[in-house]
Protein backbone atom coordinates (compact mmCIF):
# COMPACT_ATOMS: atom_id res chain seq x y z
CA UNK A 1 0.00 0.00 0.00
CA UNK A 2 1.28 3.47 -0.78
CA UNK A 3 1.78 6.19 1.82
CA UNK A 4 -1.45 7.95 0.81
CA UNK A 5 -3.56 4.79 0.66
CA UNK A 6 -2.20 3.71 4.02
CA UNK A 7 -3.14 7.09 5.46
CA UNK A 8 -6.74 6.83 4.18
CA UNK A 9 -7.21 3.29 5.52
CA UNK A 10 -5.84 4.23 8.91
CA UNK A 11 -7.98 7.36 9.16
CA UNK A 12 -11.00 5.12 8.67
CA UNK A 13 -9.79 2.76 11.41
CA UNK A 14 -8.97 5.44 13.93
CA UNK A 15 -10.50 8.85 13.16
CA UNK A 16 -8.98 10.34 16.31
CA UNK A 17 -5.41 9.55 15.27
CA UNK A 18 -3.02 12.40 14.57
CA UNK A 19 -0.54 12.19 11.72
CA UNK A 20 2.93 13.61 11.93
CA UNK A 21 4.25 14.78 8.58
CA UNK A 22 7.79 14.93 7.34
CA UNK A 23 9.05 11.46 8.16
CA UNK A 24 10.05 8.79 5.71
CA UNK A 25 7.26 6.57 6.98
CA UNK A 26 3.73 7.23 8.06
CA UNK A 27 3.86 8.53 11.64
CA UNK A 28 0.77 8.33 13.75
CA UNK A 29 -0.02 9.44 17.29
CA UNK A 30 -2.68 7.55 19.20
CA UNK A 31 -3.97 7.81 22.75
CA UNK A 32 -3.08 5.04 25.24
CA UNK A 33 -6.78 4.15 25.60
CA UNK A 34 -7.35 3.60 21.90
CA UNK A 35 -3.98 1.90 21.46
CA UNK A 36 -4.75 -1.81 22.20
CA UNK A 37 -7.69 -2.05 19.81
CA UNK A 38 -5.86 -0.01 17.19
CA UNK A 39 -2.73 -2.16 17.02
CA UNK A 40 -4.87 -5.31 16.96
CA UNK A 41 -6.60 -3.90 13.89
CA UNK A 42 -3.28 -3.02 12.27
CA UNK A 43 -2.25 -6.63 12.68
CA UNK A 44 -5.49 -8.26 11.48
CA UNK A 45 -7.08 -5.88 8.97
CA UNK A 46 -6.80 -7.30 5.50
CA UNK A 47 -4.70 -5.08 3.27
CA UNK A 48 -2.69 -3.77 6.22
CA UNK A 49 -1.32 -7.00 7.69
CA UNK A 50 1.38 -5.48 9.87
CA UNK A 51 2.89 -8.81 10.86
CA UNK A 52 6.30 -7.59 11.93
CA UNK A 53 7.28 -5.29 14.78
CA UNK A 54 10.86 -4.42 13.99
CA UNK A 55 11.54 -1.76 16.58
CA UNK A 56 10.03 -0.96 19.92
CA UNK A 57 11.47 1.83 21.97
CA UNK A 58 10.75 4.74 24.24
CA UNK A 59 11.84 8.39 24.23
CA UNK A 60 12.09 10.58 27.30
CA UNK A 61 11.06 14.14 26.38
CA UNK A 62 11.40 15.30 30.02
CA UNK A 63 7.72 16.41 30.01
CA UNK A 64 6.38 13.06 28.84
CA UNK A 65 7.41 9.69 27.42
CA UNK A 66 6.72 8.62 23.87
CA UNK A 67 6.49 4.94 23.03
CA UNK A 68 7.53 4.26 19.44
CA UNK A 69 6.53 1.15 17.53
CA UNK A 70 7.94 0.50 14.05
CA UNK A 71 5.71 -1.85 12.12
CA UNK A 72 6.20 -3.57 8.83
CA UNK A 73 4.27 -5.94 6.63
CA UNK A 74 6.13 -8.81 5.02
CA UNK A 75 3.17 -9.36 2.68
CA UNK A 76 2.65 -5.84 1.33
CA UNK A 77 6.07 -4.38 2.11
CA UNK A 78 4.82 -1.21 3.74
CA UNK A 79 5.95 0.34 7.00
CA UNK A 80 4.54 2.66 9.58
CA UNK A 81 5.34 4.14 12.95
CA UNK A 82 2.90 4.24 15.85
CA UNK A 83 3.60 6.66 18.70
CA UNK A 84 1.91 6.91 22.04
CA UNK A 85 2.39 9.72 24.55
CA UNK A 86 2.58 8.54 28.14
CA UNK A 87 2.28 10.34 31.44
CA UNK A 88 5.78 10.62 32.87
CA UNK A 89 4.65 10.16 36.46
CA UNK A 90 2.68 7.01 35.76
CA UNK A 91 3.88 5.49 32.47
CA UNK A 92 1.56 2.63 31.65
CA UNK A 93 0.61 1.04 28.37
CA UNK A 94 -0.98 -2.18 27.25
CA UNK A 95 1.49 -4.86 26.11
CA UNK A 96 1.68 -5.85 22.46
CA UNK A 97 3.50 -9.10 23.20
CA UNK A 98 0.34 -11.11 22.48
CA UNK A 99 0.23 -9.64 18.96
CA UNK A 100 3.94 -9.60 18.19
CA UNK A 101 5.88 -12.12 20.24
CA UNK A 102 9.12 -10.23 19.77
CA UNK A 103 7.73 -7.40 21.91
CA UNK A 104 8.07 -9.55 25.00
CA UNK A 105 11.81 -8.91 25.32
CA UNK A 106 11.70 -5.41 23.88
CA UNK A 107 9.12 -4.39 26.45
CA UNK A 108 11.24 -5.90 29.20
CA UNK A 109 14.14 -3.79 27.99
CA UNK A 110 12.05 -0.61 27.97
CA UNK A 111 10.74 -1.50 31.41
CA UNK A 112 14.31 -2.04 32.56
CA UNK A 113 15.74 1.24 31.28
CA UNK A 114 12.73 3.61 31.28
CA UNK A 115 10.40 2.09 33.86
CA UNK A 116 7.36 1.91 31.59
CA UNK A 117 4.79 -0.56 32.96
CA UNK A 118 3.39 -2.88 30.33
CA UNK A 119 -0.01 -4.07 31.48
CA UNK A 120 -0.76 -7.77 31.08
CA UNK A 121 2.83 -8.56 30.07
CA UNK A 122 3.52 -12.26 30.78
CA UNK A 123 6.90 -11.79 32.45
CA UNK A 124 7.77 -8.18 33.21
CA UNK A 125 11.19 -8.34 34.88
CA UNK A 126 14.41 -6.42 34.38
CA UNK A 127 16.31 -7.70 31.36
CA UNK A 128 19.82 -6.20 31.26
CA UNK A 129 20.36 -4.74 34.70
CA UNK A 130 20.49 -6.65 37.96
CA UNK A 131 17.18 -7.37 39.68
CA UNK A 132 18.02 -5.16 42.65
CA UNK A 133 18.90 -2.11 40.55
CA UNK A 134 17.37 1.15 41.74
CA UNK A 135 16.15 3.64 39.14
CA UNK A 136 15.86 3.68 35.36
CA UNK A 137 19.15 4.70 33.69
CA UNK A 138 17.83 5.98 30.36
CA UNK A 139 15.53 8.51 31.96
CA UNK A 140 16.88 12.04 31.52
CA UNK A 141 16.75 12.73 35.25
CA UNK A 142 18.66 9.58 36.22
CA UNK A 143 21.44 10.30 38.65
CA UNK A 144 24.43 8.18 39.54
CA UNK A 145 26.92 10.32 41.50
CA UNK A 146 29.52 7.54 41.63
CA UNK A 147 29.78 6.74 37.93
CA UNK A 148 28.49 9.81 36.18
CA UNK A 149 29.59 13.41 35.94
CA UNK A 150 26.69 15.84 36.02
CA UNK A 151 26.85 17.97 32.88
Amino acid sequence: MTYEALKITITELAPSALFEEGGEWLNIFISPDAFPAFVQQLRSTEGLDFDSLFCLTCVDWKTHFTMVYHLSSTIHFHNMVVKVKLDRNKPEIETVSAIWRTAEFHEREVYDLFGVEFLHHPDLRRLLLTDDWVGYPLRKDYEDPINMIKL
Binding site: P137, Y142, D144, N147, M148, I149, L151
Partner: protein, 184 residues
Amino acid sequence: MDVMEPIQSNQPQFPGDVYEAPGGGFMTSTLQDVINWARSNSLWPLTFGTSCCAIELMSTASAKYDYSRFGFEVVRATPRQADLIIVSGTIVNKMAPVLKRLYDQMPDPKYVIAMGACAISGGPFFYNTYSVVKGVDHVIPVDVYIPGCPPRPEALMHSLITLQEKIMSGMTRDQIRRQHNPDL
Protein backbone atom coordinates in the same frame (compact mmCIF):
# COMPACT_ATOMS: atom_id res chain seq x y z
CA MET B 1 62.85 2.94 3.85
CA ASP B 2 62.09 -0.64 4.51
CA VAL B 3 59.34 -0.79 7.12
CA MET B 4 60.82 -3.95 8.58
CA GLU B 5 64.13 -2.26 9.34
CA PRO B 6 63.26 -0.54 12.65
CA ILE B 7 61.24 -3.55 13.73
CA GLN B 8 64.10 -5.91 13.08
CA SER B 9 66.60 -3.62 14.77
CA ASN B 10 64.34 -3.71 17.84
CA GLN B 11 64.15 -7.47 17.77
CA PRO B 12 65.39 -8.91 21.02
CA GLN B 13 68.79 -10.46 20.82
CA PHE B 14 69.83 -13.41 22.93
CA PRO B 15 70.87 -12.02 26.31
CA GLY B 16 74.45 -13.00 26.99
CA ASP B 17 78.02 -12.81 25.75
CA VAL B 18 79.43 -14.95 23.00
CA TYR B 19 83.07 -16.06 23.23
CA GLU B 20 84.84 -17.36 20.18
CA ALA B 21 87.09 -20.32 20.79
CA PRO B 22 89.01 -22.63 18.50
CA GLY B 23 86.63 -25.20 17.10
CA GLY B 24 83.48 -23.39 18.14
CA GLY B 25 82.65 -21.06 20.97
CA PHE B 26 80.54 -20.66 24.05
CA MET B 27 78.23 -18.12 25.57
CA THR B 28 77.54 -16.99 29.08
CA SER B 29 74.32 -15.71 30.52
CA THR B 30 72.15 -15.99 33.61
CA LEU B 31 69.32 -18.46 33.88
CA GLN B 32 66.94 -15.60 34.72
CA ASP B 33 67.80 -13.80 31.49
CA VAL B 34 67.42 -16.93 29.39
CA ILE B 35 64.05 -17.70 30.92
CA ASN B 36 62.84 -14.15 30.34
CA TRP B 37 64.13 -14.24 26.79
CA ALA B 38 62.29 -17.47 26.10
CA ARG B 39 59.16 -16.29 27.88
CA SER B 40 58.97 -13.01 26.00
CA ASN B 41 59.19 -14.74 22.65
CA SER B 42 56.39 -17.14 23.33
CA LEU B 43 53.41 -15.24 24.65
CA TRP B 44 50.06 -16.93 24.17
CA PRO B 45 47.23 -14.42 24.12
CA LEU B 46 43.77 -15.26 25.33
CA THR B 47 40.91 -14.92 22.85
CA PHE B 48 39.30 -11.88 24.39
CA GLY B 49 37.63 -8.99 22.58
CA THR B 50 34.77 -6.89 23.84
CA SER B 51 34.33 -4.32 21.09
CA CYS B 52 35.81 -2.62 18.02
CA CYS B 53 39.43 -2.85 19.23
CA ALA B 54 39.06 -6.60 18.76
CA ILE B 55 38.69 -6.00 15.01
CA GLU B 56 42.12 -4.36 14.96
CA LEU B 57 43.43 -7.19 17.13
CA MET B 58 42.16 -9.75 14.63
CA SER B 59 43.71 -7.72 11.83
CA THR B 60 47.03 -7.74 13.70
CA ALA B 61 46.79 -11.49 14.07
CA SER B 62 45.96 -12.16 10.43
CA ALA B 63 48.16 -12.34 7.36
CA LYS B 64 48.77 -8.64 6.68
CA TYR B 65 50.36 -7.80 10.05
CA ASP B 66 50.85 -11.28 11.46
CA TYR B 67 52.03 -10.87 15.05
CA SER B 68 53.19 -14.47 15.14
CA ARG B 69 56.42 -13.10 13.64
CA PHE B 70 57.15 -11.75 17.11
CA GLY B 71 56.11 -14.77 19.10
CA PHE B 72 52.40 -14.21 19.68
CA GLU B 73 51.57 -17.26 17.69
CA VAL B 74 49.00 -19.27 19.51
CA VAL B 75 45.77 -17.57 20.50
CA ARG B 76 44.18 -19.69 23.21
CA ALA B 77 40.47 -20.03 23.85
CA THR B 78 41.02 -21.04 27.45
CA PRO B 79 42.67 -18.87 30.12
CA ARG B 80 44.43 -21.91 31.57
CA GLN B 81 46.71 -22.07 28.54
CA ALA B 82 47.18 -18.34 28.04
CA ASP B 83 49.68 -15.98 29.63
CA LEU B 84 48.68 -12.71 28.01
CA ILE B 85 45.32 -11.01 27.92
CA ILE B 86 44.82 -8.15 25.48
CA VAL B 87 41.82 -6.23 26.78
CA SER B 88 40.49 -4.97 23.47
CA GLY B 89 37.33 -3.06 24.14
CA THR B 90 34.97 -1.56 26.68
CA ILE B 91 34.58 -3.38 29.96
CA VAL B 92 31.14 -2.88 31.46
CA ASN B 93 30.20 -3.57 35.06
CA LYS B 94 28.64 -6.89 34.11
CA MET B 95 31.77 -7.97 32.25
CA ALA B 96 34.21 -6.97 34.99
CA PRO B 97 33.69 -10.09 37.19
CA VAL B 98 34.10 -12.28 34.11
CA LEU B 99 37.37 -10.56 33.20
CA LYS B 100 38.61 -10.93 36.78
CA ARG B 101 37.77 -14.62 36.77
CA LEU B 102 39.53 -15.17 33.44
CA TYR B 103 42.58 -13.34 34.74
CA ASP B 104 42.60 -15.40 37.95
CA GLN B 105 42.42 -18.61 35.94
CA MET B 106 45.53 -17.77 33.94
CA PRO B 107 48.75 -19.36 35.21
CA ASP B 108 51.57 -17.13 36.44
CA PRO B 109 53.41 -15.28 35.06
CA LYS B 110 50.68 -13.42 33.27
CA TYR B 111 50.55 -10.12 31.47
CA VAL B 112 47.85 -7.64 30.56
CA ILE B 113 47.73 -5.14 27.72
CA ALA B 114 45.03 -2.45 27.94
CA MET B 115 44.27 -1.72 24.31
CA GLY B 116 42.45 1.47 23.37
CA ALA B 117 40.75 4.32 25.17
CA CYS B 118 37.98 2.19 26.69
CA ALA B 119 40.34 -0.25 28.36
CA ILE B 120 42.54 2.60 29.60
CA SER B 121 39.95 4.99 30.97
CA GLY B 122 36.41 4.01 30.03
CA GLY B 123 36.50 5.44 26.56
CA PRO B 124 35.73 8.61 24.66
CA PHE B 125 32.02 7.87 24.16
CA PHE B 126 30.88 5.73 27.02
CA TYR B 127 32.69 7.39 29.89
CA ASN B 128 29.78 9.21 31.45
CA THR B 129 27.47 6.28 32.00
CA TYR B 130 26.16 4.06 34.74
CA SER B 131 27.48 0.87 33.18
CA VAL B 132 31.13 1.27 32.13
CA VAL B 133 34.26 0.45 34.13
CA LYS B 134 36.51 3.52 33.97
CA GLY B 135 39.66 1.70 33.02
CA VAL B 136 40.45 -1.96 33.18
CA ASP B 137 43.13 -1.32 35.84
CA HIS B 138 40.30 -0.99 38.35
CA VAL B 139 39.84 -4.74 37.92
CA ILE B 140 43.20 -6.29 36.99
CA PRO B 141 46.80 -4.99 36.94
CA VAL B 142 47.91 -3.69 33.56
CA ASP B 143 51.41 -4.00 32.11
CA VAL B 144 51.19 -1.97 28.91
CA TYR B 145 48.70 0.72 27.93
CA ILE B 146 48.23 1.45 24.24
CA PRO B 147 46.09 4.52 23.44
CA GLY B 148 43.95 4.97 20.36
CA CYS B 149 40.36 4.55 19.34
CA PRO B 150 41.02 1.95 18.19
CA PRO B 151 44.84 1.75 17.99
CA ARG B 152 46.14 0.77 14.56
CA PRO B 153 47.71 -2.68 14.23
CA GLU B 154 51.14 -1.04 14.14
CA ALA B 155 50.40 0.52 17.54
CA LEU B 156 49.29 -2.80 18.96
CA MET B 157 52.43 -4.39 17.56
CA HIS B 158 54.44 -1.67 19.31
CA SER B 159 52.71 -2.46 22.60
CA LEU B 160 53.48 -6.16 22.17
CA ILE B 161 57.15 -5.42 21.57
CA THR B 162 57.13 -3.05 24.55
CA LEU B 163 55.74 -5.87 26.65
CA GLN B 164 58.54 -8.16 25.44
CA GLU B 165 61.08 -5.53 26.46
CA LYS B 166 59.42 -5.24 29.82
CA ILE B 167 59.53 -8.99 30.38
CA MET B 168 63.19 -9.13 29.43
CA SER B 169 64.10 -6.19 31.62
CA GLY B 170 63.71 -7.98 34.89
CA MET B 171 61.51 -9.92 37.23
CA THR B 172 57.88 -10.88 36.98
CA ARG B 173 55.20 -9.28 39.11
CA ASP B 174 55.12 -12.40 41.30
CA GLN B 175 58.89 -12.42 41.82
CA ILE B 176 58.88 -8.76 42.85
CA ARG B 177 56.08 -9.44 45.30
CA ARG B 178 57.98 -12.34 46.83
CA GLN B 179 61.14 -10.30 47.10
CA HIS B 180 59.32 -7.73 49.18
CA ASN B 181 57.45 -10.31 51.22
CA PRO B 182 59.39 -13.59 51.50
CA ASP B 183 56.63 -15.20 53.56
CA LEU B 184 54.32 -15.45 50.56
